[in-house]
């Protein structure tokens, strides 16, 4: 059995917990519950005929009052940087977190998830912003935890990257 620690990073209320819940339990709740500290979930997925137990560390969202503790990121085999398409500042926070995570966890695979694609009309993050990210060589996936868009794909893609 292979086990991998995956960390969910991002600004507050970008939908980290919703993405994990959608992926692990196939549920979505409209109610917002802020994450305090860390919530950990797991899901066993099959990658190339091999069972991989993904330990998903859902870290609390970062804002000006609460910084993500680097210790939580340490030992991550990979991580997601989650941004909220409707709030542009979540991109900046996400990129800061990306820098921190790369410093702590080293050169490990990561994917940028721009969440809430069900609200695409209200997005502040533009295609140009997304292009800038992809131009840097970052993997970017547009997701919606609410409508279950590209969520599973995102997790499975990262899992594959971890094994490679």
């Amino acid at each position: 059995m292979i086990k991998k620690k995956i960390t969910m990073l991002g600004a507050f209320a970008v939908g980290k917990t919703s993405l994990v819940q959608r992926f692990v339990r196939s549920i979505f709740s409209e109610k917002y519950h802020t994450t305090i500290g860390v919530k950990i979930d797991q899901k066993i997925v099959q990658i190339d005929h091999q069972d991989v137990n993904l330990l998903l560390w859902d870290i609390h969202g970062e804002d000006e009052f609460q910084k993500v503790k680097p210790a939580y990121v340490m030992g991550s085999a990979g991580f997601f940087i989650v941004m909220d398409g409707t709030r542009k500042n979540t991109m900046n926070i996400g990129l800061d977190l990306l820098a921190m995570a790369q410093k702590v966890a080293g050169n490990v695979p990561f994917i940028i998830l721009i969440n809430k694609s069900d609200l695409k009309n209200d997005w502040e993050i533009t295609d140009s912003d997304i292009n800038n990210l992809t131009n840097k060589g970052y993997s970017v996936i547009l997701t919606s935890a609410k409508d279950n868009i590209e969520v599973e794909k995102a997790f499975l893609t990262l899992a594959k990257k971890l094994l490679n």
């Binding site: 991998k4 500290g37 860390v38 030992g75 085999a77």
Partner: protein, 579 residues
């Protein structure tokens, strides 16, 4: 120095080299060693090769230098210390990681020595105390081979280690686990959360040195032992002895030694850890107070009930037999009873013997010995008992003496005393001697009056106690006197009907009282007149005149005083001839 002042040897050397002379001179001077010199030259220029060559010589050279005293250790020591300090300052973790497998056994040894000393102290302290429990522990110490202190401490422990997790320190991933039962919890999540909590605590308190050693969760405690690469977390319940932490430390050290490579290069594959089934099993421990063996309560109760019932049955039988024997003894002592044989058959007692029908029936006696009448069957044959009591009973039953007669028996003789009517005495004289056991009958009897006679006497007495008083110079009955008069007449009539003795009849003497004071004759005449008048009244009331006799009585002759001018009565039985 200017260019004009150049050394003439330099110019010569340049000239010789240009013309090839110098090379020739070198060849002549070095001869056959030229090749070695070339190699040496090459060695000197190659730093790596030269260092390798020197390194082989250095230890020996160093030893010789120290031996010869050319190098002093005191001069090297500060240099080494300073280097070490600098290294530790820069990266203390590296050194602690290196020293971890070496230091821990040393520390452990030191701690175990301290514990041993502590136990010795406890021993000496406890040896001074005494109690039954301590005495038992001391005996246990002797037989178990443990020290007394260990026994005392062991009695304080009740614990069990329910789960042990081996967690990769950096990733928080569960490497292996062991459970006390086959009911594992979601160990991966617990491990990750424990790791997160550990990170949170250490990060929050900015403590790089202190480790999170334990987490308390209600009845559970999570004991955490941290190594450089892995963490052991044990979920324990109860009062865990401190030496369990030592076991955790030893286990963790062993894991670090055995799986050093795997821990350093961990990429999420836990197969190697899971293959070692015994990796954590020794950490699953439990120790309970020596409890009394659970007893099969139901079986014990059943056995007790059976034994109790059996015992009770035996007891009942024994008591019954005891009571029966007592009864037989007592019954045999009863007058008129001779017990010849007893036995028991099918739970039934049988009593054989002789019994006078007048002897006491055994029912009451059975009751006094708590014996049920239906359980004892009597096979008694009747006989005439010659015991005095039975003879008396027999006499009493046969003779039916009145209550005024007392019967006594002694030496074949029946003594009859008291009052009885003639007929009974007459009949008794005939029948008494016929009663078995009575040879002689002695009478001390007087004739008694019958009830009828008694009543008659009472009536006579009532009549004789009746007094009628009259006023001076007057003769009439008051209303109350009239009632008494009626009663008198009624009583007198009943007396007249009753013949006490066929030879005599009752006579009513009417006494008229008077006094001698004054004119005695006149008084007597008046009194006589009063008596006659009263008799007339009585005749009118229906009494026969022939049975009434007037009589004047002077007070002075009376023993008891009666009111003057009064009339009283006396009943006398006289033969008709004397009327």
């Amino acid at each position: 120095m200017t260019s004009q002042e150049q050394n003439p040897m330099d110019d010569l050397s340049k000239k010789m080299e240009s013309q090839g002379y110098l090379e020739e001179i070198r060849r002549i001077l070095t001869g056959y060693n030229r090749k070695e010199l070339t190699q040496l030259n090459k060695l000197l220029k190659d730093k790596k090769a030269f260092a390798a060559e020197i390194s082989q010589l250095l230890p020996e050279a160093f030893s010789q230098l120290i031996e010869s005293g050319e190098v002093n250790l005191d001069t090297i020591q500060p240099l080494v210390e300073e280097t070490l300090k600098d290294s530790i300052k820069k990266n203390p973790r590296t050194l602690s990681d290196i020293l971890f497998p070496i230091m821990m056994p040393a520390i452990r040894k030191a701690v175990s020595e301290d514990i041993k000393r502590m136990l010795d102290t406890v021993n000496s302290t406890l040896e001074k105390g005494f109690s039954p429990k301590r005495l038992a522990w001391r005996i246990q110490s002797i037989f178990s081979g443990k020290t007394y202190g260990e026994i005392v401490l062991s009695h304080a422990y009740i614990y069990q280690v329910k789960q042990v997790f081996l967690i990769h320190k950096e990733t928080g991933l569960l490497l292996a686990q062991a459970n006390i039962d086959d009911n594992p919890t979601d160990a991966d999540l617990i491990s990750a959360m424990l790791s997160a909590i550990k990170d949170f605590v250490q990060d929050s308190f900015r403590s790089g040195k202190e480790n999170l050693d334990a987490i308390e969760l209600g009845n559970f405690n999570i004991w955490i032992e941290q190594g450089p690469k892995a963490i052991l977390a044990a979920i324990v319940e109860g009062n865990v002895p401190q030496n369990y932490r030592l076991l955790l430390k030893e286990t963790l050290e062993g894991i670090h030694i055995d799986f050093s490579y795997e821990l350093d290069n961990f990429q999420g594959d836990i197969t190697v850890f899971q293959q070692d089934k015994e990796l954590l099993n020794k950490c699953i421990q439990k120790e309970k107070k020596p409890q009394k063996k659970s007893k099969p309560i139901a079986a014990l109760i059943l056995i007790l009930i059976v034994l109790g019932s059996f015992g009770y049955w035996i007891y009942e039988k024994a008591i019954e037999k005891h009571h029966f024997n007592q009864f037989v003894t007592s019954y045999n002592n009863t007058q008129g009873v001779i017990v010849t044989k007893t036995y028991k058959k099918n739970g039934q007692w049988f009593v054989y013997g002789l019994r006078d029908p007048l002897s006491e029936k055994p029912g009451r006696l059975l009751g006094s010995y708590n014996l049920q009448p239906k359980k004892v069957k009597f096979k008694m044959k009747p006989y005439y008992s010659l015991s005095p009591i039975i003879i008396l009973k027999r006499a009493s039953r046969k003779l039916k003496p009145p209550g005024t007669i007392i019967l006594k028996y002694n030496s074949d003789t029946l003594f009859i005393s008291g009052k009885a009517n003639k007929n009974w005495i007459k009949e008794t004289k005939l029948t008494a001697k016929m009663i078995p056991g009575i040879e002689t009958v002695i009478f001390h009897t007087t004739h008694s009056t019958s009830n009828r006679q008694q009543k008659l006497k009472q009536k006579i007495l009532a009549i004789e106690n009746t007094v009628f008083s009259f006023p001076y110079n007057g003769f009439y009955l008051t209303e109350q006197q009239q009632q008494e008069f009626n009663k008198l007449i009624k009583e007198t009539k009943s007396i007249l009907k009753f013949n006490l003795n066929q030879d005599s009849i009752p006579v009513i003497i009417v006494n008229s009282f008077t006094s001698k004071s004054g004119n005695a004759n006149a008084n007597k005449r008046i009194a006589q007149e009063r008596a006659n008048q009263f008799i007339n009244l009585m005749i009118k009331a229906g009494l026969p005149p022939e049975v009434m006799v007037p009589k004047v009585v002077f007070e002075e002759k009376m023993k008891k005083s009666l009111p003057p001018r009064s009339v009283s009565f006396k009943i006398k039985y006289v033969k008709p001839n004397n009327l």
